[in-house]
Amino acid sequence: MSARRHEQEDPDRYFTITGGRRDASLDLVALVVAEIGPLPGMSSEQVRILRLCRDAPVAVVELSAHLALPVSVVRILLRDMLADGRITVRHPVSAPEPEQLPDLETLKQVLVGLHQL
């Protein structure tokens, strides 16, 4: 994540610079990690997100399910929290690019994992 600059007061712009690889968006399976604990004055949703992600990463879509909020609403919350440094995000790294196959090493790892089920 790059250092803050003045022009990044706009969370959208900040996110464009620091955030997701696709469409400046958070993937459904991007993994969220809390960087701070809940603070007074935070919204209840932010507090819940920080608690859910406190001990282990939680995927965006899982946060959406636990908060009972639509994914796109959770994304907006996360974008603000990311801009404020309250969370960090581990973006998918093995996902194939559009119209590309997953790489063979990824497929091998998936196969091994499935066989262990």
């Binding site: 993994l31 819940r48 282990a56 996902a95």
Partner: protein
Amino acid sequence: MDSTNSDPPAAGPALAEPSPERAPLRGTAADGLKIVVVGGFGVGKTTMVGSVSEIRPLSTEELMTRAGEGIDEADAVPEKTTTTVAFDFGRITLNDRQVLYLFGAPGQQRFWFLWDQLFSGSLGAVVLVDTRRIEDSWYAIDRLEHHRMPFVVAVNRFAERGPSLPKVRAALDLDEHVPLVECDARLRESSKSVLIELVRHLTRLHDRPAGEDAR
């Protein structure tokens, strides 16, 4: 930092209590992967996801605005946007870093906007077919081919009797290199074998000569 200054002490443990749905990921998890299971209503998508998932399948929803996209970049949620579409998912921890998420996606045309989001970065797809309603799968297969998303087709056998796989292949107008298998989505081993078939299919596609249609 703790939060006991803003909440009654009793509220903290209750929220933090792991439930079957809250089985935490490993702290080292860093790489989310996706496979989408698509099919018509009642075909067994959630059953399949649940049979292999390490958590009980979770359900969430996305807002439906206009055809073709969600509202991700909208700063204000449009007041008229009240329609939502629900989808289910589960997950499988593959190793210390990688977690595979399985999504059950409704196959109907009006949900296509959701597919785009689900398929973005997906490894591939499973089309789950009920042979009593084969036509429910046509649209899904057409869109997958259009998006060049690799897939396998799995017939969920609800009854002993049903059309043979060659007949299903013909009814779906399925290309001969697309794997077509039978399964019982209720059984872990069976659902697992479908996913393995998909991964093997993806691996085989790597061997195809460049320029040849990979689907």
